[in-house]
Each structure stands twice: as structure tokens, then as C-alpha cells.
């Protein structure tokens, strides 16, 4: 498994001319920008392009990473460290140590002033657009190959300074021990791991979740399944809670609803996010009304048609805005590990085989 996001590893090396464009508003991007800004940003751009509402924000391309590494000298330091300390064979302890050292090198660096200026300008523009001072943003990694849960994502980041710091930390997160191990095994450069970064407005989430435009267990593509919980989408993505689920027929938009007893939800806290108890009166309450379910389904169907393959989409409903302007989509990618049609039989055969153990 690809542990994370090696954007064009070996392709974006030092020595490229400086001064080129390295930040983009989502509206400027499309899927062709994948190699430059990473899948997440390219997708958000693509979503914007096809008229889907995404939280306002911007992307930092791998050229931003390259510039940072060059101008701060972090790139050289890492190279030097790897040359010095990294031999031909590696064990886990060495990889962990390398991760600690390299991330330390990156995180101790200041953002070069020209870059910082540009980032702060973008942040200010965002605040203006949202008519909010000290806007809370999410800072997310965006690699050419997405691996949900592997790379760092910082939520609820407030203020330009904090945002800049988190961007540096996201770059550093390309050097987790696992990522280093993977690159070592693949014979890729250990010291070079360019990734894109997405900075977007935090949604004040009433509820959030995921959509699959195919039923994963059956491969039934005539239906969409929406899952969600109160609060942020993390609780659903991580599989911690038993979410509400809505199966929607793509043709008729008929809804098959299963309301779960939801106990915990993820919300913002001072330190980022926290898992809290759901108030008693909301535990057995459906998180979505039919109108919202159908709107999500309708839009996700469009996204699937646009990309041509079943999609795995993260959605969120904002607490403050009125419907339907409060419906945002934060991620769309091809649905993975979806059973092909006919695999029900394989599954049943599997179960039968296990019966005899």
C-alpha cells in the first residue's frame, strides 16, 4: 500500500526557476492540476468547476514545498542527514529516528518571508470572502495518491501565523516513519517528498459524513449510500460510531433510512477536535431530513457522472447557513474496495468455507 503522497517523486527537484505561481484558489484548479497540487486540491478545484459548493480556500502546490526546502536550507540539511545516517539496511527504530529528525528539521524552520506574505494575503482574502475575522481554517495534506488517515490534517486553525505553522507541519508529515520506510523499499529518494497542501474554511458542522455512489457490499450501482453523524465527519470516516445511513435510489430518489443510536460525535475544541457525548434528545434523531438526503444524493450523482466512476464523497452541513447553501463537499475520490457485481457469491462462499473451521 502506498503510505502517502509522493508527488512526482524524482520529478520536482531543486534548481527549477523561482518566482512561478505556487498558490491557487480552488476555482483556478481542475483535475489536470493533480500532479502539481495533489489529488485533494485538484478534486476540490474540479468540484468547484462542475458547480459544486466547496468550502472556500486555496491550494499550495509542490512548488511551494520545493521553494520552502530550498530557501530555508531544510532540503540540504535533510539530504545531508540522510547521506550521513542512512545506510543500506534499515530497521524500524532507524526509520522512527529519521522521521523524528527530519520532521524536526522542517518544523524548526521559519516560512521564508516572501512566501509568508503570499500565504497571509490569501488568508486575509479568505476572511474577507467569508466576512469573518480570524477565520478558522483546515490545513490538509494533498498528495497525488491519497491515503486517508495517513497524512496529517490540522483542523480549526485560527489566525494567519498559526496557519503558516501548520502548513510547515503538513510538509513535515510527509516524513512519517512509514513513508520513509516505503520510499526506502521502493528505491525512491528518502529525502525528497513533495506534497501539496489545501487550506480551506472550517465548516461549522451541524452534521457530516460520507457518501458512496455504489453499495460497497453488493456493487449495486443503482443506489447511493449516505452515512453521517452529528458534528464533524471524522467520527464517520474513522468508523468509531454506528452512523445513520440512507440508501437512495438514483432513479426514483426513494430513501431507505436506518437511524442508528449515536453516542459520540466529534466537535471542535480548544486543542483541535474532541469526541463528546451526543445529547440524549439527539441520539435517536435522524441527522438529515429527506430534503437534505435528496439534495446530497442528487449532487453526488452528478459528481459520479462527471468522473465516470463510483465516488466516495465527504459532505458536511453547516450549522449557520440556510439550506441548501449550507451543504458543502470536502472530498470526492473514486470509491475504493467496492465489491464487483457477483461478489456476493464470493462472500457467501467465504462464509460457508469458514463454517467448517
Amino acid at each position: 500500500m502506498m503510505p502517502c503522497t509522493m508527488l512526482g517523486a524524482g520529478r520536482y527537484h531543486e534548481g527549477k526557476p523561482m518566482g512561478e505561481k505556487w498558490t491557487y484558489w480552488f476555482g483556478e484548479l481542475g483535475k489536470e492540476a493533480n500532479d502539481s497540487v495533489g489529488k485533494k486540491c485538484a478534486n476540490l478545484g474540479e468540484l468547484t468547476k462542475i458547480g459544486l459548493r466547496v468550502p472556500p480556500g486555496f491550494a499550495i502546490s509542490v512548488d511551494g514545498y520545493r521553494m520552502f526546502m530550498k530557501e530555508t536550507g531544510a532540503g540540504e540539511e535533510i539530504k545531508e542527514y540522510v547521506r550521513r545516517e542512512f545506510g543500506d539496511t534499515k530497521d524500524v527504530a532507524q526509520e522512527l529516528e529519521a522521521s523524528r529528525v527530519i520532521r524536526g528539521i522542517i518544523e524548526r524552520k521559519e516560512m521564508p518571508s516572501k512566501m509568508k506574505e503570499e500565504l497571509i494575503a490569501h488568508y486575509k482574502k479568505l476572511c474577507e470572502d467569508c466576512r469573518l475575522a480570524d477565520l478558522s481554517v483546515a490545513v490538509r495534506s494533498s498528495g497525488a495518491v491519497s491515503m486517508p488517515g495517513q497524512m496529517e490534517t490540522y483542523l480549526n486553525v485560527k489566525g494567519a501565523e498559526e496557519m503558516v505553522k501548520k502548513i510547515i507541519q503538513v510538509w513535515g508529515s510527509a516524513f512519517t516513519a512509514r513513508a520513509i520506510s516505503f520510499r526506502f523499499q521502493q528505491g525512491l529518494p528518502i529525502d525528497w517528498a513533495p506534497i501539496g497542501v489545501a487550506v480551506l474554511k472550517m465548516v461549522n458542522a451541524k452534521c457530516a459524513g460520507v457518501v458512496l455512489t455504489v453499495i460497497p457490499t453488493t456493487g449495486d450501482t443503482s443506489k447511493i449510500i449516505i452515512e453521517g453523524n452529528w458534528g464533524l465527519g471524522e467520527s464517520v470516516v474513522s468508523g468509531e460510531v454506528n452512523p445513520d445511513s440512507y440508501i437512495v435510489d438514483k432513479e426514483t430518489l426513494d430513501i431507505e433510512r436506518t437511524v442508528a443510536e449515536k453516542t459520540k460525535m466529534v466537535v471542535y475544541s480548544d486543542k483541535g477536535t474532541a469526541s463528546v457525548d451526543i445529547p440524549e434528545e439527539k441520539k435517536r434523531l435522524s441527522i438529515l431530513v429527506d430534503e437534505e438526503v435528496r439534495e446530497i444524493a442528487r449532487i453526488c450523482k452528478q459528481v459520479e457522472e462527471h468522473y465516470g466512476v463510483p465516488q466516495d464523497i465527504e459532505w458536511v452541513i453547516d450549522l449557520d447557513l440556510p439550506f441548501p447553501e449550507n451543504l458543502f463537499f470536502v472530498q470526492a475520490r473514486p470509491a475504493k474496495s467496492v465489491k464487483k457485481k457477483g461478489n456476493d457469491a464470493d462472500y457467501i462462499i467465504d462464509l460457508m468455507t469458514r463454517l467448517f473451521k
Partner: protein
């Protein structure tokens, strides 16, 4: 060699066989009362072969089929378990592929087998036994031997492959929904299907309506079933009716006998009395009785139960769960259809071939009467086949007949076990085998004795419901006509030929049975309570006593003591 050897090589031998397996179980469903030598030879040889063939073809990971022995007319069985984990693993790999057609293409598989057997049957039936030469008769018999061997191969390949998903489905229902196959909702889910046995019953019901329309009702009601044929031949109306009925026997229903696992009773072809009995039963039910309504009700209830259960599984599970449900439902259909196309038909043709020989041999003086052939075995048929007039097998027949009568009087023990070995241990081994046929047809689950119910007998639920009625203890097919509307049938087990009385009775109590045995399946189709595995029903309950069955609790109460 002893002259009494009935199944050479497979006679029960305490010394050797208890070393092989510490426990051997009597197949009470099929070999009580004891088999005739000829039929025992066919069953023990080929059912045994078929089970090992089926288990091996499917590469069942934990069991290699069953071993069988013949003892005093009883079939005794034990399981051939897979011992090493390594072998289990290897078998698992093959099993994965071998079971696939049962999930992917059940109808194609079963349909193909039915076609193959019907073709064989047509070939075997083509010979005119009265005009055939001795050599042709012997050839016909050998063909029948081979047909029976093939029938059991198909039978057990299908049965293992059909019941495995059923066992899985039940286990998942237990885990996911907390219901097992003695639960009413579960039982409703696997009933309400059309099948060949019901089609035959339906035709008999239509004949009962025809008899009423033609004004023959009085004749049917007043005449004992045995004489109905002769009586019908005395009038034009009767002749018209008979003509159509004979056609029905020839084309649809003639190749069956009252007792499924025996060949010493006439087929319907030879003696249509059982058919007339059934028509009488339907006439007794009255003109407003609607057989179709029963069936439609079962179908409606099944759909309702399916809906109920599917609502309880998560959306992600629904796809494969409903697929598995459909695969498991094949059990109900297969259970009745295989009786019709496999056991009954083949056994009827074994009888036909034997009777052809028997008549010839009785004429030649080899034996006294045609039926004596059932006290011989295939080796002896070969011995005298071409020149029957040169052999006198009468003394052999007489000795075997005498033995056979003694077997029936004595009765066979339900299990033969090594000293110090307990029934609990033996049952444990059966459960461990995961053998779907052992679990669901022959052995069944052991009743839980709930003393707080203060019942007289405890069993398991084969079909849900509660009913009261007069007990009618039936041990022989000839006693079936004693059954009155509203009675509760008490017997060792039931067989396909008994199906029609289920529309008349209020409930069933059987000594032995599991959730896929005949009484359970048919009880569910007719929506009457069935209590199974009470073991002592036929000895403790007397005909005429008023009894109450609470199948949901597995309890039987004798009210009129």
C-alpha cells in the same frame, strides 16, 4: 461365508466396526421397520457410496461422508471425519470452487441432474418385462443397479451442496437476529414454495373436484379405497374418470410407493389405492376446501417474514444476505423434489425390475411367489438370472423371510456403542463434524427438557403452532385412512406419500426428525404444528387419546390419560 449375509462386506461386525467408530446410529427415519434384504443391499451399498461421493466431490472440509453397515434390517451409520488440520485446509481450498454452482447456478445444476435421471428412467422403463428374455431381464436389473448407484451420487452431491448454505443461513440468523430454524419467523421464510410433490397433491385435489362434478362423490365416500377401481369400471362415468386417472399415473405420479425407503409394497402404477385414499381425504374436507388457498397463505407469510428479517439487517448486509436467503430457500424445494425425482422414482423402478424377475422365477420354480425376490440379493439374481429353472432358492428365501420377521418383532437399538461410550459423546462427534445432513435431517437437535412446562413429552419445533386433537398413532401406510379431520398424527417419522394427510390433520408428533426432514417441511407448508425428536411418542401416546402439542415450546401433553 454365511448364507444370511445380506450385504456382503458391509454387515455390521461388532469386533471390527466398534474399533473403527465407537458409536453407530440407527437410521430410524428410513430403516424402521427393518428393510428387506434386497432393499437393504441397495441402500447400504449405494447411499453409502453416494454420501462419500458427494462429500468428496464437494471436498467438504470436515467430513468425508458416512460409513454404513447393515444389521438385522437396520441401517447403521457413522461419520468419516477429516482428522488433520492440514487436510482440512486443503479441502477448504477445493470446497470453495466446488460449492460455487450451488450459489451461482442452482437451477441449472439441479435441472441437469433431473434430466439425466429421467433419461435413464425412460431407458429402464422401455423394456417390456413380460415379453423380455431372461438375458434382457438380467440386463435390465443391472441397469437398475447402475441407475441406483448414479441416483445416490446425484442425491448426495445435491443434498450436501444444498444443505450447507442452509446451515450457514441458520447460523447467521442466530448470530445476527437471534432466531434459529426452530423459530416461527425462520420457518416461514423457508416455506411457501411450489414443488413437484405438491403438484401431485394438487392434481389429486383436482381429481376430487372432478369426482364431485361428475357425481361420483357418493361412490368414493361409500366404497373402500381398495375397491374403488373395480367399482369405477362398472359405469361409463367411472370409466371416463379412470381413463384420465390412469394417464395421470402413467405420466405424473405413478412411480412412487407408500414407503420411500423400501420396495416390497406396490407402486401406484400397480395399485392406485393410495391415490384414491387421498381423493377421499379431499372429498371429506368438503367442497369449499381450497388447497391453493393454503399454499397462497404460506407464500404470503413467507414474503412477510422475508420482509421482517431483511428490515433487521443493515443496508450493507442486505445484498449478500438476501442472496444467501434465496440459496438457503432451495432446501425446501429440493427436499420434496428430490424425493420425487430421485428416491421414489428409482426405488419404483428397482421394484419394477425385481418384480419382472420375480414373476419369471416364480413360474420357473426358483422361488414360490414373485415378492420372494426381495429376500434375495443381486449376487443371487446373477446366480440364477439366465437359467432360473436350474436353481432352487426357496430354502434361502424361507430362512431370510423368517429372520426378517424376527428383526421386525425385535426392533433395532437406536445406537450401538462401545462399552463406556455415552450417547452425549456420540452426539458431540456428530455436531463437531458440521455435516449438514447429520445436523439437519437424520439426527436433529436434542430436545431441551423444560420440566417447568410439566409436559409428557419433550421435543423440538419442526413447524410452529399450538393445537389439540385426537392422537392417531400410525406405524404403517395402510393405517393412514384411519386419520380423521382434526386428528394429531403420531408416528416414528413421515414419508412423502403421507403428504396429503397434512391438509386434514391439526398437528404432528414424530419420534425422530430434524428441521429439514419430511414432517417439518410439509408441516410448515401446511401451517400445522410439528413436534420432533420426542423419541417415545409412538410408545407413550395411544390412538384415541386427546393430546395437545405446543410446537413453539417443543412440548406434548397427553390430556386424556
Amino acid at each position: 461365508m454365511k448364507v444370511y449375509d445380506v450385504v456382503p462386506g458391509l454387515e455390521f461386525n461388532e469386533e471390527y466396526d466398534l474399533q473403527q467408530s465407537p458409536a453407530w446410529f440407527l437410521d430410524a427415519t428410513h430403516s424402521v421397520p427393518p428393510w428387506t434384504p434386497m432393499f437393504g443391499w441397495f441402500w447400504v451399498n449405494f447411499c453409502r457410496h453416494g454420501m462419500q461421493y458427494g462429500a468428496e466431490t464437494l471436498s467438504l472440509p470436515t467430513v468425508k461422508g458416512w460409513d454404513w453397515r447393515f444389521k438385522d434390517g437396520g441401517g447403521y451409520l457413522c461419520l468419516l471425519l477429516v482428522d488433520s488440520d492440514k487436510e482440512k485446509e486443503e479441502r477448504q481450498k477445493k470446497f470453495r470452487e466446488a460449492i460455487r454452482p450451488f450459489v451461482d447456478n442452482y437451477d441449472g445444476l439441479w435441472g441437469g441432474y433431473v434430466k439425466e435421471m429421467l433419461k435413464r428412467y425412460d431407458q429402464v422403463k422401455a423394456l417390456n418385462l413380460d415379453t423380455a428374455t431372461n438375458i434382457q431381464l438380467l440386463e435390465n436389473f443391472e441397469e437398475v443397479v447402475d441407475t441406483c448407484r448414479r441416483m445416490w451420487e446425484i442425491h448426495m452431491h445435491m443434498m450436501y451442496g444444498t444443505y450447507t448454505p442452509y446451515v450457514l443461513f441458520e447460523q447467521l440468523c442466530k448470530q445476527m437476529l437471534n432466531i434459529d430454524d426452530t423459530h416461527p419467523t425462520f420457518q416461514k421464510m423457508v416455506s411457501g414454495f411450489d414443488n413437484e410433490s405438491f403438484r401431485v397433491d394438487r392434481r389429486l385435489w383436482e381429481f376430487s373436484k372432478k369426482a364431485r362434478e361428475m357425481g361420483l362423490q357418493g361412490l368414493f365416500m361409500e366404497t373402500p379405497a381398495k375397491q374403488i377401481k373395480a367399482k369405477l369400471e362398472t359405469s361409463d362415468k367411472g370409466k371416463t374418470f379412470l381413463k384420465e386417472f390412469d394417464q395421470f399415473l402413467d405420466k405424473e405420479a405413478g412411480w412412487r410407493m407408500e414407503r420411500m425407503a423400501e420396495i416390497n409394497v406396490p407402486t401406484w402404477q400397480e395399485d392406485p389405492t393410495p391415490g384414491f385414499e387421498t381423493i377421499k381425504l379431499y372429498l371429506k374436507k368438503g367442497g369449499d376446501f381450497d388447497l391453493d388457498e393454503d399454499r397462497k397463505k404460506a407464500e404470503r407469510e413467507r414474503k412477510q417474514a422475508e420482509k421482517e428479517v431483511l428490515a433487521k439487517v443493515t443496508p450493507e448486509q442486505k445484498g449478500w444476505f438476501s442472496m444467501l436467503l434465496k440459496v438457503a430457500q432451495n432446501c425446501s424445494r429440493f427436499s420434496e423434489e428430490h424425493n420425487h425425482y430421485l428416491d421414489l422414482y428409482t426405488h419404483a423402478l428397482i421394484r419394477r425390475s425385481c418384480m419382472g424377475l420375480g414373476k419369471r422365477w416364480a413360474k420357473a420354480g426358483t422361488i414360490n411367489q414373485p415378492e420372494d425376490i426381495f429376500f434375495l440379493i443381486p449376487d443371487e439374481v446373477r446366480k440364477a438370472g439366465i437359467n432360473p429353472d436350474k436353481f432352487n432358492l426357496k430354502p434361502l428365501v424361507e430362512r431370510r423371510k423368517k429372520e426378517w420377521q424376527e428383526w421386525a418383532q425385535r426392533g433395532n437399538p437406536p445406537a450401538i456403542m462401545k462399552e463406556g461410550f455415552t450417547l452425549d459423546q456420540a452426539m458431540g462427534g456428530l455436531v463437531q463434524s458440521m455435516d449438514p445432513i447429520a445436523l439437519k435431517v437424520v439426527v436433529g437437535s436434542m430436545p431441551v427438557v423444560r420440566t417447568e412446562l410439566k409436559a409428557d413429552l419433550y421435543g423440538t419445533c419442526g413447524s410452529p403452532g399450538v393445537a389439540e386433537g385426537i392422537a392417531r398413532v400410525i406405524s404403517r401406510d395402510e393405517d393412514l385412512p384411519q386419520i380423521q379431520k382434526g386428528d394429531i398424527l403420531v408416528s416414528a417419522s413421515t414419508s412423502p406419500a403421507w403428504t396429503p394427510v397434512f391438509s386434514l390433520i391439526n398437528g404432528v408428533v414424530v419420534d425422530r426428525g430434524a428441521s429439514l426432514s419430511h414432517a417439518a417441511i410439509v408441516g410448515r407448508e401446511y401451517g400445522i404444528p410439528v413436534v420432533m425428536n420426542v423419541f417415545e411418542g409412538t410408545t407413550k401416546i395411544k390412538s384415541g387419546q386427546k393430546i395437545r402439542v405446543d410446537a413453539n415450546m417443543g412440548a406434548v401433553y397427553i390430556l386424556g390419560k
